[in-house]
């Protein structure tokens, strides 16, 4: 009875502590193991009984018996759109379904120690838009695919407490495809030596005359640690910390392709060209001997650190309830600098100015008499993106994740986990133009509403032997 009273107080306290909503924010991903997804990712204090705990709580691997193998993946289908104030146009996103794999193996060496390895994707992003999207000058396609390889050792301090952790080897690929706007290019100098842009000569903003692609890859290294303990017969607690990894994409390559503008100059134009001159003809040399020849490009991207702590309670017959709080250090995502080898292009800076963010994750699991497990979860995520950094690259916004899952025992040592998650967002005002100065406010440059939703399916095959 006293346990139940304590439980009620804790649940109430947890609910009162909820932020507006919270979860995998920014370009973070949590689709790492179907059991975890089904339970709303609230698994650091109530780890799944499989090797995926190497990610979710590296300490709990010490509690697994024998050998545990988990292999699986998730499909992430994102739908989204941008509705623009000024043109009333609705521009749907064109995001292909992404697939993220996960693979974990754990071996119990002895009563105290286990070792293993995990391969998973904690950060990733693909945003892609159609060719007529007016925000394509910020991003027609932005893709980050980062995979972490984590050797892990877990140590049981005593029957109730265990710790674990290991190094992280991260490999990341980035690809950014942007349209290039003629109106922002320098057409010449005025008598005082000030640059005159094509826009000042009348070329409309959003006149695409080139398409640039930047690709790069990089390695980085980090560490993760965790702890897990039994508070009493029904309560457990656990936590993990994953360090930040800073990827420096030094070997990037930038290529540019001319895009026909179809513009024709009228008589008396400020460029001094004869009437009927195609603008494209004036620009062609830029791609053969000018600033827009293929060249090197570098950028740097931090994958922030994460901390998560959770508790679980199994005092109700056949039920396991869990709640986690997660924190992600997005404040380090301050700005994105892209350096081009050609000095004429120089460095392009995108101000991000993210904030640290937190998430609340709640999970429940019911184990039926036939060993089937039914899982439910909810995760509320507060976006780290400020109002002024809601862009086509990542139109981040608060998210509510509703999850369900199923654990199906196939044989004595083989289980199939399945999970589905629906990611709901309220929609958020954002911008499709560069923020050229930190003095520019959201009210000044936001020009529409981004909507976003995702359907996530995950399957994991678990073997114990």
């Amino acid at each position: 009875m006293s346990v139940h009273r304590f439980t009620r107080h804790c649940v109430a306290a947890a609910l009162l502590a909820l932020p507006a909503t919270a979860f995998a924010q920014g370009f973070g991903l949590n689709e790492i193991g179907s059991c975890a997804i089904g339970r709303g990712y609230a698994v650091s204090g109530a780890p799944c009984q499989d090797a995926s705990t190497i990610y979710w709580n590296p300490a709990y691997a010490a509690a697994l018996s024998g050998n545990s193998l988990v292999v699986g993946g998730a499909s992430i289908a994102v739908t989204g759109a941008f509705r623009r104030d000024s043109s009333l146009g609705r521009y749907p996103a064109d995001v292909p379904t992404s697939y993220t794999p996960h693979l974990f193996f754990n071996h119990r060496q002895n009563d105290r120690m286990s070792w293993g390895v995990g391969v998973y994707v904690p950060y990733g992003l693909t945003s892609e838009w159609h060719n007529d999207f007016p925000g394509r000058f910020l991003a027609l396609k932005a893709s980050i695919a980062t995979i972490y390889i984590q050797p892990n050792i877990a140590w049981k301090i005593n029957d109730n407490w265990m710790i674990g952790g290991g190094p992280i080897i991260g490999h990341s690929n980035v690809e950014l495809i942007q349209s290039v706007d003629l109106s922002t290019q320098i057409a010449g100098l005025d008598p005082l030596g000030n640059p005159i842009t094509f826009g000042q000569l009348g070329i409309a903003q959003g006149t695409e005359f080139a398409r640039g692609t930047l690709k790069g890859s990089a390695y980085s290294y980090g560490v993760t640690v965790g702890f897990f303990g039994h508070l009493n017969d029904h309560w457990t607690i656990g936590g993990r910390y994953l360090s930040s990894l800073n990827f420096n994409y030094k070997n990037g390559k930038a290529t540019f392709q001319q895009v026909a503008t179809g513009l024709t100059l009228a008589n008396g134009n400020a460029l001094g060209a004869p009437a009927g001159t195609p603008v494209d003809a004036l620009l062609a040399s830029q791609f053969t001997s000018g600033a827009l020849v293929s060249q090197g490009g570098t950028t740097e991207l931090v994958h922030p650190d994460q901390a998560e702590v959770g508790v679980s309670y199994d005092g109700f017959d056949r039920w396991l309830l869990s709640a986690d709080y997660a924190w992600i250090g997005w404040k380090r995502f301050h700005q994105l600098d892209i350096h081009f080898a050609n000095p004429a292009l120089g460095t392009r800076t995108q101000f991000e100015d993210y904030n640290n963010s937190s998430a609340i994750r709640l999970g429940a699991q019911y184990t039926a008499g036939n060993k089937w497990q039914y899982r439910f979860g909810y995760a509320g995520v507060a976006t780290p993106a400020p109002d002024v950094t809601v862009t086509p690259i990542l139109p981040d916004q608060d998210r509510a994740n509703y999850t369900v899952g199923l654990g199906i025992p196939l044989t004595r040592g083989l289980t199939l986990d399945a999970a589905y998650a629906y990611v709901w967002t309220p929609g958020r005002r954002g911008r499709i133009v560069d923020r050229t100065s930190r003095s520019q406010t959201a009210a000044q440059i936001n020009d529409g509403v981004f909507t976003l939703a995702a359907n996530i399916l995950s399957l994991s095959l678990k073997a114990s032997f």
Partner: protein, 409 residues
């Protein structure tokens, strides 16, 4: 039973999670509102200098901001971007009628009619709502190079046509005031045969409307008729030459005594309209060794009495042509469900307002020679007249579409 209760308890917990999801989301998703009604969500204005905001022989951000489409958009409560031209302008407006000097900020070289200070950086946008180009005639709205292009064509349109730029805004409402330049210069110069023939005018107008309506099938709006340009105060009646004071003013402006040919005092010469630009023409004529004489009947002095003189027959020719233009425009408006606005009654009413229109111009005034209704070039309306135009249009729009757009105060 116990198992069932446990299951229900778990479901209740999951349901609670769902309730949590409905917690308020702090980020605004509210877009703009349109005070005038939803048909004004995206308003575009097509046309020529009248719509662009040209005044006093020039255009800049200041004159553009006072143009009737800007006033309309404010009353509609809708976004309206125009291609703002940096101060002092492109070209800078005349600020003294007598000296013909143009706006010149301190520290700038003296502005001329060929000075141009480009677009303001803040005005660079992909969705332009005022796509009107000074000098445009009806064929220009769908021609990339234009039949009457000038530097402003590229400054405003950037290599597209007015129709193309207007459609980028996905317009829901449009005002189209085009056709004045098809007859204006021929009328003002006394050469009305140079006006766009009716067949050409209607063909171009048809194609322009077809392109717009194809691109925006649900478009609503107003087609605006052509002004009876012979009523512009840049043309003064020959009868004014009976005034010694007026002729004295002309003489002062030309810099030599001006004589008036006797044909100006009797029919048909006394019915002619003379362009005030005769001052500059006489200066040139005198410089070339000719007499400083105003002739009101064609070739009563060889080479005189034709250019810048619109005789009675030509006035009728212009009047009838504009009436034909307007009959077509009105029928076109009816056929596509647009409202039609005839500017001529409003201008006629203005002419009756004391001080609004000076016939002939007050040559002694440096700042209001043509009256309060016209700017210093005697053709383009003043800021106060743009308000009149906007309010007239609002009446037409409210009557046609049942809206409740308020007048400009």
């Amino acid at each position: 039973m116990s198992r069932t209760m446990n299951l229900l308890r778990g479901v209740a917990v999951a349901g609670l999670f769902g309730v949590l999801a409905s917690c308020d989301m702090p980020h605004s998703t509210v877009g703009p509102s349109y005070a005038g009604g939803s048909i004004f969500k995206s308003y575009v204005a097509l046309g020529n200098s009248l719509t662009a905001g040209y005044q006093s022989g020039g255009i800049n951000d200041s004159t553009q901001s006072r143009a009737y489409p800007v006033l309309l958009a404010q009353q509609f409560g809708t976004r309206f971007a125009y291609p703002a031209l940096a101060n002092p302008g492109c070209p800078p407006p005349i600020n003294n009628f007598q000296t013909q000097t143009r706006v010149t900020p301190a520290g700038y070289p003296a502005s001329t009619d060929s000075s141009c200070y480009l677009r303001t950086k803040a005005s660079i946008t992909d969705v332009l709502n005022n796509v009107a180009v000074p000098g445009a005639d009806v064929a220009d709205l769908i021609s990339p190079t234009g039949t009457s292009p000038n530097p402003l064509t590229t400054f405003v349109l950037g290599g597209l046509t007015q129709a193309q730029r207007a459609l980028i805004a996905k317009p829901t409402f449009a005002t189209i005031w085009i056709g004045n330049n098809d007859v204006l210069v021929p009328a003002l110069t006394g050469m009305p045969d140079g006006a766009t023939p009716l067949a050409n005018f209607t063909a171009s107008y048809h194609d322009m409307i077809a392109e717009l309506m194809t691109g925006a099938p649900d478009l609503k709006g107003v087609l605006m008729g052509v002004v009876q340009v012979a009523a512009a105060p840049q043309l003064f009646p020959a009868a004014a030459l009976q005034s010694l004071a007026f002729v004295g003013g002309l003489s002062q402006a030309v810099g030599t005594p001006v004589t008036v040919h006797p044909d100006c005092y009797s029919a048909p010469g006394n019915q002619s309209l003379i362009n005030i630009q005769i001052i500059a023409w006489l200066k040139a004529a005198v410089a070339a060794g000719g007499p400083a004489t105003i002739v009101c009947v064609k070739n009563d002095i060889p080479g005189y009495g034709d250019y810048l003189v619109l005789d009675a027959a030509e006035q009728l020719q212009v009047y009838n042509l504009i009436n034909s233009y307007n009959a077509y425009i009105q029928a076109k408006a009816d056929s596509i469900g647009f409202a039609y606005w005839d500017p001529n009654p409003a201008l006629a009413q203005l002419a009756q307002t004391p001080g609004a229109v000076n016939y002939p111009p007050n040559l002694a005034s440096a700042t209001q020679p043509f009256g309060t209704a016209f700017s210093l070039d005697g053709v383009h309306p003043s800021s106060s007249s743009h308000i009149v135009v906007a309010n007239d249009l609002i009446d037409v729009i409210n009557a046609k579409y049942g809206t409740s757009v308020r007048h400009v105060q």
